[in-house]
């Protein structure tokens, strides 16, 4: 091969390698994105079944049940609830009535199987995702309350 075509071959190989690397990165990126859903979204069937995602909200008081290292609890965004089961040791900051984020997948019965429970938090004991879920839940509640008031108002007239 002439030096010039040799150089060209190297450059082509380099560009091909780079393209491969970019494709690899983007593919790995796409298949490892973990989406976040609130219990309300899960109730309205927006969450995928089988694929891993995160759910966040508040642990319902009195819902925590332990059998050795098997635990189950219920997460709510004050509108809807999702039962969650997990095997392992819960983080230090996990508490009933406080925020939680769980990563795992949903089965057909609407039961969430967590592979990881996170209680990373700010000073108010609230993981950002959980705070988001509760805020959305709160807004939904407010909307419902408003429509109820309207209906009542209509009846009284």
């Amino acid at each position: 091969m002439k030096p010039r075509s040799k150089r060209l071959a190297w450059i082509v190989a380099g560009v091909a390698g780079l393209a491969l690397a970019v494709a690899l990165v983007l593919n790995a990126f796409r298949s490892n994105l973990v989406f976040f859903f609130t219990p309300s979204q899960i109730a309205s069937k927006e969450a995928p079944v089988g694929r891993a995602f995160r759910v966040g909200g508040m642990v319902v008081n009195g819902s925590l049940v332990r059998h050795g290292t098997d635990v189950s609890f219920v997460v709510t965004d004050t509108v809807k609830q999702v039962p969650v089961s997990y095997t392992g040791i819960l983080p230090d900051l996990f508490k009933e009535g406080k925020g939680v984020v769980a990563e795992g997948h949903l089965d057909e019965q609407g039961h969430f199987h967590a592979t990881q429970v996170l209680a990373k938090h700010d000073e108010n004991y609230m993981p950002p995702e959980a705070a988001e879920a509760l805020k959305k839940g709160g807004e939904a509640n407010a909307r419902i309350a408003k429509t109820l008031v309207m209906e009542n108002g209509g009846k009284s007239q």
């Binding site: 040799k6 150089r7 190297w10 780079l18 690397a21 690899l24 990165v25 790995a28 990126f29 490892n32 994105l33 973990v34 989406f35 976040f36 995160r54 332990r66 050795g68 290292t69 095997t87 392992g88 040791i89 819960l90 230090d92 900051l93 990563e103 700010d122 950002p128 995702e129 705070a131 988001e132």
Partner: protein, 670 residues
Amino acid sequence: MIPEIGNLALVLCLILSMVQIVVPIAGAQTGNRAWMAMARPAARAQFALVVLAFACLVISMLGSDFSVKYVAETSSRLLPVQYKIAAVWGGHEGSILLWLLMLTFWMTAVSVFSRHLPEAMLARILGVMGFISFGFLLFILLTSNPFERLIPAALDGQDLNPLLQDPGMVAHPPMLYMGYVGFSVAFAFAIAALLGGDLDAAWARWSRPWTTVAWTFLTVGICLGSAWAYYTLGWGGWWFWDPVENASFMPWLMGTALMHSLAVTEKRGGFKVWTVLLAIFAFSLSLLGTFLVRSGVLTSVHAFASDPRRGVFILIFLVVVIGGSLGLFAWRAPKVGLGGRFGMVSRESMLLGNNVLFAAAAGSVLLGTLYPLFLDALGLGKISVGPPYFDTVFVPLMAPALFLMGVGPISRWKEASLPDLRIRLQWAAAISVVMAVVLTFIKGSFSFAVAFGLLLACWIVTSAAVNLWGRIRPVPGVSTSLFSRLGGQSRSYYGMLAAHLGVAVFVVGVTMVKGYEIEKDVQMDIGDTVAIGPYTFRFNGVSEGAGPNYQYQRGNVDVLRDGALVRNMGPEKRTYLVQRNPMTNAAIDSGFLRDLYVSLGEPVGPTSWTVRVYFKPFVDWIWFGCLMMAFGGVLAISDKRYRIEKRKARAAAAASAAMPAGVAGAGVAE
């Protein structure tokens, strides 16, 4: 009174920093020597003022002066003294002050070890650093003043976050910041060179040791952070690909690329433009890291938006620094020229490969860290990018880099011959393959991932041995002893070997932990046992007690091997008195070949607990490898040529007393 002195010192420093930006750079552009000479005293005075301010904060902290808001937020009466010191940088305001302290320290260091620099160059460097210092001073005074008073004063502080009450955490931030901020020197050198328009090999020679020092500190800092996570977070992980960790890892990747690129610029005059760009990126990523960790954007973009002053300030500062330097780069770089030509197979091309791979790695970490933040900020939903992404991306990107690590140092500059390389490395390759396969079979089960990791580690070690042997093998006709030939190699050469071997040790650690760790979460009552690998753990119950500022429940666990007691371990569950948060304190038995790790979960019955029991083979090799890399950095900067340069500089300084300074400076620069 003392906090007010600290505040005053910062205000004076701000004024001084403005002087340091304007006067020396104006002097350098117009050739006014008296103006340029302002740079040195200004830099040192800034350092003195920041030290004063820092000392004021330390005094307030030690005296538990809860009329200072920052002290009330991060300390408490019962906090042990060493953690009161750590509390100085345990919160936002104090850590930014630490950042500034490091920056002014680096400025002073540059002003001291710069006798060999041309006066105009030094003036520009300190001017650029003065600008960064100005930005951070303004940031502190406008948005994050650690001396702000709290009226009325608190009776007791809110205590330091229990997670930070750990010896590793005392040293981790200073080390990390020394590294972060250290890249500002390389950055300032690059900008000064662009401003002055003289980017030659001398520039790279001056810039190189500073970059190596910064990189060394950053390596140690990241290593301490990782070890801290392992010891304190209570679940045995050593790296989580958490955005906070990524924030420190991105500058490290870029800095590693920069170090290697600087070698080419110094030795061969090549890669000039690329090196300047890497210097800009390395420091930009340091700033970005500070922004990510310190603006609150990670906890929640919404929290960030509700108190946007801090975040917006850093964002503007980022745009000015990065945009400005890239603009300057675009304007000036075409004049720099590309430097020497090199063949497709040569040390240059391999170092270029290293550079590209490291830059790509930094880019992929950046993507994984920033993309979720962007989506969230734009209201497009919340996502997270998990460790699997980083794992999948990193192995294919780093594997070729590790392969090149074996070939590169053996190749000739400019043009290497492939057949020659093949002959020199064939035994190294063969031995590596055999070792990798044999070692994996000895461990019992064959796993491709483990074999591949060990193969790369063996390759680094054997090719380093080939490299060293090539340099010290007896030459016919010349009679020197092996020791004198060993002594004849430069320290920077040994530094390179040590750092590369450190990578091998690190790779072994990661491979073995990933491949053979055993983790069990079990419920245990008094007398229960659980077997892990060759060890049996027996749970003897839990006792209660109190530490200086916490209460604890301590488990009693015996570790047995073949029926004989190996170690008694006491994992704790602590409740700190002020913040009332429970914290797990794992018990770890460290060993050369394995760690045993026990931590308490929750009580499930009257005497039974859930317990975490881990067996972590070779985990300490991870941190030992990092320390070896850092040691390599130390060796490289203790190299003779830097000492000779200093001696030369001293001679030049003596000569310049008789001669105009500019001429003498130019003389040394040649």
